[in-house]
């Protein structure tokens, strides 16, 4: 009897266990009710466009919850490490154009050209660049022709998505160009490398070849939107401008001159119907996406005071130079951050320096309560201010989040002109002066004078290659080009110094290897395929 019982019990227990197990094991499969799955998203053209928008948004915002929250990358303050903010900072603060006063972490080491492979700002720049490439790879992978047909998209929808995909390839090429320019190469992966694959290293010249072939292939496919079709999209002109930049700097990246190629692609952009903004300052105002300034902007990073909020990007560029005696209302914001100033090297490029007003481009300089020279990095009063970017409109209004419009006064509508016509005109002139064919010295001079004329600057009788660097300084200061330009002109490490270069108040030469940044140790520690750049 007892044995029977034991058996019964055993059977019952087993049955209970199995029943419980089968019903509950299902409970172990939990998914969130609020997130999307790739199969659903990539079957719907509207949602695919939302993913595409995200690829653009990486440059502007820092996560999915503006102004901060659900960050894209971690290990550093979210707004601080925003793509545009970092890219701008590393291109400007390391040069003669800008100085930043904050003592956050190793930020001063950027100012003094003393960064090492543990510098968190170098790392943040690197992480943002490669983060965007990862997102683009995932998008390109998910929108492959095979996936599109598998998910049964209608042919018109599929064609629209193919255009998106080529835009993603342009954005990826843009980031790889940043990797070449800043890090001389780096890890490399495309849509062919699944998530989880530890990438191999590609040196800058090989990456150059890849970027060149990608852009040419996309251009040849012809799927990109026509220039100026939709503001903010990576259209054909963006592709050509990027090729121009790549070729203009090719000597630095590969040792081989591509001036003629630069002329070729600059010519395409020049023929695409862009016109210079009638007023220089409009390019940097809250309505630069609507006013006539829009016709000059080839590739903007778009911001909106209400809908695209961040503590990086334009919020940073408008707030960080504000402080002291600046009237905040004139900038359309409610507080200044008291960080960014400039060095005399920039203002002295203009007749009359910072206080002259013969050139409209001098209108951004603010001198009251500030002194010209930078004797102490952290003192905000040391150095004139550059109030180039403002959250007010060309017609005297203010941005959507300005106090007068019921907003917080924190966030700005101003778009960042990453590529614009004046830059292409100056690149065209420079490429010709560097021996490129496809134009004449006369057209080079015309291009430079066209840019100068807009701001009321005297027309030049002739133009030399060396004039170009200064003209780029005057026209494009604080727009994130300076470091690349100084390197291309051989003036970055030696032969030309500015305050605190190399860590001394008067400035000194720095090591030649500092034309590129180190591969951050954080990545080398987890990817043994990555060599360190020489010198670091």
């Amino acid at each position: 009897m007892q044995r029977n019982f034991t058996r019964t019990l055993g059977m019952l227990a087993l049955a209970a266990g199995l029943a419980a197990a089968s019903s509950c094991t299902k409970d172990l499969n939990q998914t969130p009710d609020y997130s999307a799955n790739a199969e659903v998203v990539y079957s719907d053209p509207a949602q695919i466009q939302q993913v595409l928008a995200r690829l653009y948004a990486t440059f502007a915002v820092s996560g999915q919850q503006g102004p901060a929250g659900q960050p894209d990358i971690t290990g550093i303050d979210e707004g601080f490490s925003n793509y545009l903010r970092q890219y701008w900072q590393i291109q400007e603060v390391t040069t003669d154009e800008a100085v930043i006063g904050w003592a956050d972490g190793s930020l001063p080491k950027l100012n003094t050209n003393q960064w090492d492979a543990n510098n968190e700002f170098v790392r943040a720049t690197y992480d943002r660049v490669f983060y965007e490439i990862s997102l683009c790879n995932e998008f390109i992978r998910q929108t492959s022709d095979a996936n599109l047909s598998k998910r049964g998209l209608a042919s018109a929808d599929a064609n629209a998505v193919r255009t998106y995909r080529d835009e993603a390839r342009v954005l990826r090429a843009l980031c790889y160009w940043h990797a070449i320019d800043l890090f001389g190469g780096g890890p490399f992966a495309t849509e062919a490398d699944a998530v989880g694959t530890v990438p191999q290293y590609k040196k800058g010249s090989d990456m150059f070849t890849y970027v060149e072939s990608e852009l040419k292939a996309v251009d040849a496919a012809g799927l990109l939107l026509a220039p100026r079709a939709v503001y903010g999209r990576a259209d054909k002109a963006v592709c050509w401008t990027l090729l121009t930049k790549l070729y203009l700097n090719a000597k630095v990246y590969t040792g081989t001159d591509h001036a003629t190629d630069a002329v070729t692609y600059a010519n395409k952009v020049l023929g695409a119907g862009y016109t210079l903004s009638p007023t220089y300052s409009w390019l940097f105002l809250a309505d630069n996406g609507q006013s006539a300034a829009k016709n000059e902007i080839i590739f903007p990073i778009n911001f909106d005071g209400i809908k695209t909020q961040t503590y990086g990007g334009m919020t940073y560029l408008v707030h960080a130079p504000a402080g002291g005696l600046v009237n905040l209302d004139s900038l359309g914001i409610s507080s200044g951050w008291g960080g960014l100033r400039t060095k005399p090297a920039l203002t002295s490029l203009f007749p009359g320096g910072a206080k002259g007003r013969s050139d409209a481009r001098q209108g951004s300089f603010f001198t009251r309560g500030q002194k010209s020279s930078v004797d102490t990095l952290t003192l905000f009063t040391n150095g004139y201010l550059v109030l180039k970017y403002k959250n007010v409109t060309s017609t005297g209004g203010s941005g959507s989040d300005a106090k007068v419009n019921g907003g917080s006064g924190n966030f700005t509508d101003t778009d960042f002109p990453m590529f614009r016509l004046a830059d292409v005109q100056l690149m065209y002139a420079e490429a010709l002066l560097r021996g490129g064919t496809g134009g004449t010295a006369g057209t080079a001079l015309d291009m430079v004078n066209a840019v100068r004329k807009r701001s009321g600057a005297a027309q030049l009788a002739s133009v030399q290659l060396s004039d170009i660097l200064d003209e780029r300084g005057r026209e494009l200061y604080w727009e994130g080009h300076r470091r690349t330009d100084l390197i291309r002109f051989g003036k970055y490490t030696t032969g030309y110094n500015w305050a605190f270069k190399g860590g001394t108040p008067t400035g000194k030469d720095i090591e030649a290897f500092r034309t590129i940044f180190p591969i951050p140790n954080t990545d080398r520690a987890v990817n043994s395929n990555l060599p360190q750049n020489p010198g670091y």
Binding site: I73, F130, F188, S334, F380, A525
Partner: protein, 1007 residues
């Protein structure tokens, strides 16, 4: 859709019913009845004593006068085992005759000095202390910390070896960090598993509650048991890596008469110390000497001590009433409590209403033990603005609190620094007026929690030794809060005030069932247990609008989540199968083996992990050569081994899942004329799996001099591998720059010792002393897969001052959160030279010369106390000490004269006069201080009037002081620092809500 619980419950009920029915017919002839009485040394009847017929499950408990009757005892020679908590178990031989009642002579139980027979709560059951094979420590009510204790964990602070409990500060209901044996995780939670009356409770933070445990009334707690080694915790598998704390609440006693207990504690808390900042004259002198023109111009003419402006003496009342007894066969306890606790920060208070009901009848001839627990609590928090604590330290003492000047009218008449451009707006970079922060903010929450369970323990009749246990329970929490501030509040100036609500719901449900088989075979006792556990945690958050003070939506309304709802739900399901085998040979050789298979919804598709453990104990005292030795009253050796798991990644519920997340309306992107809410591919790790900790433990339990000195010594080593570590991802291999991976390993090694001494044991005077000490060394042994020499580790430990500055690092070969600083160089005069550091690697620059030294965690944790009674008087105190813990004094490191601030200057720590730094030197080890301390946690003097009112009643009064003194070399406010960042950090002193000194008068009446 069928509810899975119903399905499971029905199945289990069927199982139990089926068993009962099939067995009911299986009757047995030839039984008799036994009756008798059990008394204490004074010959008074002892109620609630367990009387068992040895080798069977037949037995009962004594009623109010100590008598018992057991029927259905098989005829023949039997042995009765008579046991009761706190008394020595005795055995009595009887002969049972079929159909007759055998009267047993009265048995007197001796009080058990060493408490070896005490029933200790362990995982899924209780054990006699002498049968334990693992490292288990139980603290019962008598030993609890007295005085104003408002959170349960404070009852055992300093009482348990190997357990470090650090409160976040002095705010009412403040959170605590509980670290058992150093913490075995790095990114995953280091909190122990807390089980209240059989319900593993949700430790997820709840909106509106700083500490989820603060919802439990400590007055309802009878004992707290800490399971420390793997042989005792491994039965909880997945959640056991950081130890298990079992909380048992008070309950009624079988046959007990009706009791009422009422108590009240009335306390006054007072600030002990303020951060040492400059006074107005010193500050004025400093600014005039070093300041810029705009700074000098910003000085006021007042003399304000901002810290005194925001703190106060605070009043606390803690009232509790409980009734207990037995209504027929149903023992009950009903209690209610009301706590009103003021914080020493103005406008900060907490009201807590608690209620608890326990019913624990034994039915069906003692075969069915029912245990029903229901607890409910309701807390109204009034948080004040705790940012004012830091603001007061750094606010210009020359300014007045309020001003009648017109320019301050927009700020409610409070002084604020205005923009130097003269536009009448706030100076966006200056601190805000601390008093305004407090007075212009209403930050309240209401938090409700209910925990309950029904536990049925059924001795299956006619199968001696077999019982089935079913436990269904829940833990439900609701957090609701409001935050409002008027349009004049500077803190919400840009938003025109604030008027917001928030809400969060936590639902945790539990179903557990196990079977237990207990049998004696000659000299060997066997206990086997096998069970199943299912627990579901649901965390619902609400998406709410951000409003201005007038209730209008600020900027724009929120958008729903991807699914169109305005809530998001996260779910974590845990499912486990467990078993335990206990073997006891002659009460001398004890073997325990456990095994648990645990599944979690966090890992997919490989849900399950497997966690075995084994332990052996040799009770040497039971051997013939020691049996009669009085000098050695107890001696037991224990060794154990086991593996436990960790899956708690906090907010990351679905780390395995590839998904896309929708942006909010404030992170849209514009293309052409359209704005798009973007969809982002989120980082995921399809291979993520268990973190596993392997623990080795060896211990000795000792007792000398007839039990006058007793305790234990344990050594342990805990190796964690496959650490759930939030770490860097190789660029381009993932969808972020970091994520959760199973990388790295760490080790904790340590020694724990406990000693209890009965110094004086007499009729009138009794003095007992208890001491515990722990040495723990935590070391990271692996952090990356590459073992690259370039890896300095992961920088952690953010500080105030600058964005993203860190002072700690997780590096291989060092303790987690080791300080990573530059070595200061000092001048002839002993003063630090600004910006001059030791070039440790001799490369000519010092920018890269960071070095690792010391950690925020102590090497030694000591606790101790004494208890003296003389007639009705009682004097007790508890001391705690941490040794070898270092603190980065962030208050001091921010004390450099900053000439760059425009139109204002913040007040400074007095340090500014010592170092004279003019730029931030955040990375100087000059600011690293030894934080070792000795704290008298509490001291209590009480008098018990005894049966003053009438027989059977009791009246006592007490006077207690909390936080009596702290002895330390640390120059900051308090050397005990934890910051609840993710993960929590120790040893960085930013601003702490000061722990007050509290004086309490208590009255306790029992009828």
């Amino acid at each position: 859709m069928k509810h899975p619980y119903l399905v499971k419950l029905r199945f289990l009920l069927l199982l139990v019913l089926g068993l009962t029915a099939s067995l009911g017919a299986w009757a047995q002839a030839g039984t008799g009845t036994i009756s008798g009485r059990v008394t204490d040394a004074k010959n008074e009847g002892l109620p609630g004593v367990t009387v068992l017929v040895d080798g069977t499950s037949i037995g009962g408990s004594t009623n109010a006068d100590g008598t018992y009757t057991i029927s259905g005892v098989p005829a023949g020679a039997r042995t009765l085992v008579i046991s009761f908590v706190g008394y020595s178990t005795t055995r009595q031989a009887v002969t049972v005759n079929a159909g007759q009642t055998t009267n047993v002579a009265a048995q007197s139980l001796a009080e058990n000095a060493t408490a070896l027979g005490e029933a200790v709560v362990v995982g899924y059951g209780t054990q006699r202390r002498q049968d334990l094979t693992g490292a288990v420590e139980q603290i019962s009510e008598k030993q609890f910390v007295k005085g104003q204790v408002t959170n349960p964990e404070q009852l055992v602070q300093g009482k348990v070896a190997g357990v470090q409990i650090t409160t976040g500060g002095g705010a009412p209901g403040s959170n605590s960090q509980i670290l058992i044996r150093g913490g075995s995780s790095l990114s995953a939670s280091n909190q122990p598993l807390i089980i209240i009356d059989g319900v593993p409770v949700d430790n997820t933070g709840l909106a509106g509650a700083s500490n989820p445990l603060s919802l439990i009334n400590p007055n309802d707690i009878e004992s707290i048991t800490v399971l420390k080694d793997a042989s005792s915790t491994a039965i909880y598998g997945v959640r056991a890596s950081n130890g298990v704390i079992l909380v048992t609440t008070k309950r009624g006693t079988q046959g007990d008469s009706f009791h009422v207990t009422a108590s009240t504690n009335q306390s006054i808390s007072t600030p002990v110390k303020y951060v040492d900042v400059l006074n107005a004259d010193e500050f004025r002198a400093l600014v005039n000497a070093k300041g810029s023109a705009s700074q000098k111009a910003s000085l006021g003419t007042s003399n304000t001590n901002w810290q005194k402006e925001i703190f106060r003496n605070a009043y606390t009342a803690d009232n509790n009433v409980s009734i207990s007894g037995a209504a027929g066969v149903v023992p009950y306890r009903i209690s209610t409590g009301y706590l009103y606790q003021e914080g020493i920060l103005k406008r900060n208070d907490l009201k807590r209403y608690t209620g608890a009901l326990t019913l624990n009848p034994v039915l069906l001839n003692g075969n069915l033990r029912v245990n029903l627990n229901l607890k409910g609590s309701w807390i109204d928090n009034n948080f004040s603005d705790q940012g004012a604590v830091g603001a007061a330290v750094g606010y210009d003492p020359t300014q007045a609190v309020t001003s009648s000047e017109a320019k301050y009218a927009p700020f409610g008449g409070y002084f604020q620094f205005l923009d130097p451009s003269g536009n009448g707006q706030l100076n966006g970079l200056a601190n805000l007026n601390p008093v305004a922060l407090i007075n212009q903010r209403r930050d309240r929450s209401t938090v409700k929690r209910s925990i309950g369970n029904l536990q049925l323990d059924y001795k299956i009749p006619f199968v001696p030794g077999l019982s089935a246990n079913l436990n269904v329970g829940y833990d439900v929490q609701r957090g609701r809060g409001t935050l409002s501030a008027p349009i004049t509040a500077a803190a919400f100036y840009n938003q025109r005030g604030v008027n917001n609500n928030y809400a969060q719901d936590l639902n945790n449900t539990l179903l557990e069932a196990y079977g237990r088989y207990e049998r004696t075979f000659g000299a060997m006792k066997l206990e086997f247990l096998a069970g199943y556990s299912f627990q579901k945690f649901q965390n619902r958050n609400y998406i709410v609008n951000n409003n201005s003070a007038d209730g209008t939506i600020f900027q724009q309304p929120v958008a729903p989540a991807y699914n169109g709802a305005f809530t998001t739900l996260n779910t974590n399901v845990l499912e486990g199968y467990y078993s335990r085998l206990n073997l006891n040979f002659s009460d001398r050789y004890l073997l325990t083996g456990t095994f648990r298979a645990d599944g979690t919804s966090r890992f997919n598709p490989k849900h399950f992990g497997y966690f075995p453990s084994g332990a052996f104990a040799w009770r040497i005292k039971g051997e013939d050569f020691l049996k009669d030795n009085n000098a050695i009253s107890d001696l037991k050796l224990r060794i154990g081994y086991g593996q436990t798991g960790q899956q708690d990644l906090g907010g990351d519920y679905y780390p395995y899942l590839a998904n896309l997340g929708l942006s909010t309306l404030t992170a849209q992107y514009q293309l052409g004329n359209s704005f798009y809410q973007t969809l982002r591919s989120n980082q995921y790790n399809p291979n993520i799996t268990w973190e596993t900790t392997t623990t080795y433990n060896a211990g000795i339990d000792y007792g000398f001099f007839g039990g006058r000195l007793y305790g234990s010594v344990d050594v342990y080593r805990r190796d964690t591998k496959n650490l759930l570590y939030f770490t860097n991802i190789p660029a381009l291999s993932g969808l972020s720059n970091a994520g959760n991976f199973n990388i790295g390993s760490l080790t904790n090694r340590g020694v724990e010792a406990i000693a209890n001494v009965d110094l004086v044991k007499g009729e009138r005077l009794n003095i007992s002393v208890n001491l515990n000490g722990t040495y723990n060394h935590n070391e990271i042994t692996k952090l990356t897969n590459s073992d690259s020499s370039n890896d300095i580790g992961q920088k952690v430990g953010g500080i105030s001052g600058g964005v993203g500055n860190t002072v700690q690092v997780n590096s291989v070969g060092y303790t987690a959160q080791t300080f990573y600083l530059q070595q200061q160089v000092y001048g002839q005069d002993g003063k630090p030279l600004e910006g001059v550091y030791v070039d440790r690697n001799g490369n000519g620059t010092t920018g890269d010369d960071f070095y690792r030294n010391h950690a925020g965690r102590p090497n030694y944790i000591l606790g101790g106390g004494a208890n003296m009674t003389y007639r009705g008087f009682n004097l007790a105190f508890t001391l705690r000490a941490n040794l070898g813990n270092y603190i980065y004094n962030n208050q001091r490191s921010q004390a450099f004269y900053d000439a760059s601030s425009n139109g204002f200057v913040g007040n400074k720590n007095r340090e500014v006069l010592n170092s004279g730094f003019t730029t931030a030197q955040y990375y100087s080890d000059y600011f690293l201080e030894n934080g070792s301390f000795l704290r008298m946690q509490n001291a209590t003097l009480g008098y018990n009037f005894g049966e003053l009112v009438k027989k059977g009643t009791n009246l006592s009064v007490s006077f207690a002081v909390q936080n009596v003194f702290v002895i330390t070399k640390y120059t900051g406010l308090d050397p005990e620092i934890v910051n609840f960042s993710t993960p929590p950090t120790q040893g960085i002193d930013q601003t702490i809500y000061p722990r007050p000194r509290t004086f309490t008068v208590g009255l306790n009446l029992g009828i």
